[in-house]
Amino acid sequence: MSITELPKALADQSKVPSSTETKSSSTTNACRMCMPLGACLAYVGFEGTVPFLHGSQGCATYIRRYLISHFSEPMDIASSSVGEAATVFGGEENLRVGVANVSRVYKPLMIGLASTCLTETIGEDVPGMITRIKDPETGLRAETGQATPELVFAPTPSFAGTHADGYHAAVTAVVKELAEVGEETESVNLFPGIVSTADLRHLSEIVAGYGLPHALIPDYSERLDGVTVARYEKLPGGGTTATAVAGAGHALASITLGGMVTPGVDLAGEVLQEQFGVEHLRMPLPIGIRLVDTFTDRLTELSGQPMPHWLDAERGRLVDAYIDGHKYAADRTAIVYGDEDLVVGVTAFLSEIGIKTLLVASGGRSGQLTTEIAKLTPARAADIEVLDDGDFHEIEARAAELKPDLLIGHSKGYATSRRLGIPLIRVGLPIHDRVGAQRLRHLGYRGTQDLFDRVINTLIQVRQDESAVGYAYM
């Protein structure tokens, strides 16, 4: 692909509406990461897959160190280590040698390839290279005598989108490559989006509770929240299997949670609907009682089963907790920032417990944020500022003005929180200044319960610390 024939993702960018009228030329303290990071994260959620970035090795190194510091787990990302000469003569040899080396040392089932700014700018034709690697006469197998793993490719230049876009581009690439037609099954495809490993496990538990066979695509809950055992595995187990992805092509239905992407990025669920006729429904991340109800209603529809007792009990306990805690939350205010999917869910949740969200901010560029927020909080839509394609310079300026009681978002808001003296509740990715990011729950009644307790306890703590007497009963 040369830069004159840009993919859809790039071509539609200029149409993204910006909420701020005088957009600055620079970004100060960004509120989004790059596409290859999202792609690597998604690839790790497929069984036996090694993510592989075609480009300068710095991209793989930076992204590894970033994801590792969030998950506290090993994260191997290979690179074709493209150097200066290859920028002139092309990086095909680097890619081919890299694939051969990864195949030999890691023996993966699949290599998840993604491009970078470098290789997209020089117009590398990665699909063509893959065809040549797979060629029975001249390909790698003929050259090395070794089987070549499955190779998938997602174009992910950082200049074209966000980490969320890269994540979905990779999921879609895998689904396009592996999904098969077949007789319709009872299975449900669940596309969870970028959520914590604890969330992934909980989602599986909820769907299984309805007796529904399902494929969580992708599922990095085991690989990025692994156990310590006596013997270390280079390529840890876990992840969505190729068989499960093949079955996605003839599943009963697909559900995409979130899925707010830059216009032009295809969602896997959409592709399955268009190419395989699998019914697709997109819904917000199930955070807060109403959004979890929407999700569980859908599961009842699909399974014909009522809500399992244990889940119903969790819902009941959550309502009980809302009642117990509502006096602390009422009329408090918050600024929510981070991935678009997450901020939408969190804002909907906050509106249920009486906390007024003053500003919803994201570095995302889907252009849907304002509409989504308005849909979920119609009563307050006019009072909630929405900042998309934003950065922390803008968020902090608004925070200084709006003086909220809480900031809710990832670790990058810490500096703002510290400067303005506003407590920060950490959610989402990246969290690299606390332990346990992988164990944080946000989804389902249970995840909402955790979130609720953290929010209320933070508010209580502030009141307690401010109290002159030092009350111990709050």
Binding site: I3, L6, A11, S25, S26, T27, T28, N29, A30, R32, M33, C34, L37, G55, S56, Q57, G58, A60, T61, Y62, I63, R64, R65, I68, S69, S72, P74, D76, A78, S79, S80, S81, V82, G83, E84, A86, N94, L95, V97, V99, A100, N101, R104, T116, C117, L118, E120, T121, I122, P157, S158, F159, A160, G226, V229, A230, Y232, K234, K412, A415
Partner: protein, 569 residues
């Protein structure tokens, strides 16, 4: 703390008691030999063959040149600073990381604008733990990440206009003393001329603005970025300002090169220098401000800590201004004492020599009891180090203090001289990747060149056992039979851990959890696991305590459950 306002008082009696002749007789030039390999270590030659046996033939041959069994006397030739094989999962980063992330990034009052798509700026945003104690009221941009956030529009039509606007915006917002611009991969490819934009904006705004062509694909690792950063700093900043006369009174004026103040290391070095009465003009670039670097040409000696990242600067400053340089190592209590003695001997002033001895004695009196208590629990336990371009060497001094032998070590992005010593510099083959990085030819400055020592004086110092403008490599200071691996891959690291079962591995976050999943504690020597400082005397105490805590932690005993342990193997 940074620059002593007045000479700190030291006990007169202690100063008078120093035997200057004995101090003068100390040999400060010999390499410190590493501790011998522990009994029962695996046979190294077979181990080295095993390390590469799974590779395809071409990779096997290439990797074999990077892996050597050490001999400190007949140092074997090791290949380094050559291109990483694609797909082996290296620890290495890119040219941009070396330039912006390592060398320039720590300077507190420069606005660093990353010209490129969003990721590069994001990932270098406070990722290295450079610290700074910026004076009240002075500017500090350490926790900012500025980027032009290029989108496809700039990739197609060019990003120079957006860069110029970003510079203007940064200027309007902050009015900084200087702005530096860093190029990421697409910039060079689409032909943006960051230097032209920098020049134009410099003329327009009247502050120093300069660019770096540090695109990620240049060179073979972050090392290329260090070199580009050195060139740019030297050309655009060093010597552009003069020290005011009141700061030129103390003749013991030094720059500290290649110290980035991770975890507060530079604070400790500043403290020790200040106690001895030595004036620190500037640090490249930990806890540094722009003007300090601009005035650095007025120092009388350059001290080089991390030679890998900064030796270019030391040599260029000697050629242009006549400032001699020497290698120092402030990592390890004994190493710090040696570094301070070298500085004192260079200046040759009996007052300074005595002051340094008194400070060393006082500081070691605090270090030794801690070291002795901990050494009882660490002695003889093997260590491996895979990190950086000089740290894997420097930290061996701290482990020697603790009696822990280094059985295997290597660098991420070092060159042959970092392994074998500066003696091999002339025999290093320049390949295409290195040739692509500009080598500046520097002559004496017609007005400012002033040799701080005559050739005869330097010769006399060297005859007395003080080596100038040279450094020891890691291998002459490692024991015979230890294994040295350059640009180690994950797979190789795992095999070495299996073979040596070390008590501790020092590495970075990319390997940390792999190592710990194998049941071995991992000390991060890039960001110190959020600890530090580890430099100097107080840093040594911190490090000993930290290592004791790690290698003797209870948690490692819980990895294998009791029912599994009971089963026959």
């Amino acid at each position: 703390m940074k620059k002593p306002e007045e000479m700190p008082a030291l006990p007169v009696k202690a100063l008078a008691a120093i035997d200057l002749e004995a101090v003068g007789a100390l040999d400060l030039s010999c390499p410190d030999p590493g501790l011998a390999m522990p009994m029962g270590s695996p046979e190294p030659n077979q181990l080295v063959r095993n390390l590469v046996q799974n590779y395809p033939p071409r990779l096997l041959r290439k990797r074999s040149r990077h892996i050597k069994v050490n001999d400190p006397i007949e140092v074997p030739k090791i290949e380094a600073n050559s291109r990483t094989s694609p797909g082996i999962i290296t620890q290495r980063g890119c040219c941009y990381a070396g330039c912006k992330g390592v060398v320039l990034g720590p300077i507190t009052d420069i606005v660093h604008i990353v010209h490129g798509p969003v990721g590069c700026s994001y990932y270098a945003w406070m990722t290295r733990r450079n610290q700074a104690d910026v004076p009240e009221g002075d500017q500090n941009f350490l926790n900012y990440a500025f980027t032009t956030d290029m989108t496809e529009n700039e990739i197609i039509f060019g990003g120079e206009k957006k860069l110029a606007k970003a510079i203007q915006e940064a200027y309007d917002l902050f009015h900084p003393k200087a702005i530096a611009v860093f190029s990421t991969c697409p910039v060079g490819l689409i032909g943006d001329d960051v230097h032209a934009v920098a020049r134009q904006m410099k003329a327009e705004l009247g502050i120093n603005i300069f660019g770096f062509s540090c695109e990620g694909y240049k060179g073979v690792s972050q090392s290329a970025g260090h070199h580009i950063a050195n060139n740019g700093l030297f050309t655009n900043v060093v010597g552009t300002e003069e020290l005011p006369p009141e700061l030129k009174v103390n003749p013991w004026r030094v720059n500290l090169l290649g110290e980035y103040n991770i975890g507060g290391d530079a604070f400790e070095m500043e403290r020790i220098l200040a106690r001895c009465g030595i004036q620190l003009v500037s640090t490249f670039s930990g806890n540094a401000q722009y003007s300090e670097l601009a005035r650095s040409a007025d120092a009388n000696l350059n001290l080089v800590q991390c030679h890998r990242s900064i030796n270019y600067m030391a040599e260029m400053m000697e050629s242009k201004f006549g400032i001699p340089w020497m290698k120092v190592n402030f990592i390890g209590a004994q190493a710090t004492a040696k570094a301070m003695r070298k500085i004192a001997r260079y200046f040759g002033d009996p007052e300074l020599i005595a002051r340094v001895e008194v400070v060393i004695a006082q500081e070691l009196a605090e270090v030794e009891p801690v070291r002795n208590a901990i050494r009882a629990r660490t002695n003889g336990r093997p260590v491996m180090l895979y990190v950086g371009g000089s740290r894997a060497h420097h930290y061996q001094s701290l482990f020697a203090d603790l009696g822990m032998p280094v059985v295997a070590a290597g660098y991420e992005f070092a060159h042959r001289d970092d392994y074998e010593g500066s003696v091999v510099l002339d025999s290093i083959t320049i390949d295409a990747d290195s040739r692509a990085i500009e080598e500046l030819t520097i002559g004496p400055d017609p007005e400012r060149f002033a040799p701080r020592k005559t050739e005869a004086e330097i010769a006399e110092l060297e005859a007395g056992g003080l080596k100038m403008a040279t450094y020891e490599g890691m291998m002459p200071e490692m024991t015979k039979g230890s294994v040295v691996v350059d640009d180690i891959s994950h797979a190789e690291l795992e095999q070495l851990i299996e073979a040596y079962k070390p008590a501790l591995v020092c590495s970075g976050i990319k390997d940390k959890y792999v190592i710990e999943k194998m049941g071995i504690p991992c000390k991060q020597l890039h960001n110190y696991d959020y600890g530090g400082p580890y430099a100097g005397f107080k840093g040594a105490i911190n490090f000993y305590t930290e290592i004791d805590r790690m290698v003797n932690a209870q948690v490692w005993r819980l990895v294998t459950p009791p029912w599994a342990a009971k089963k026959p193997a």
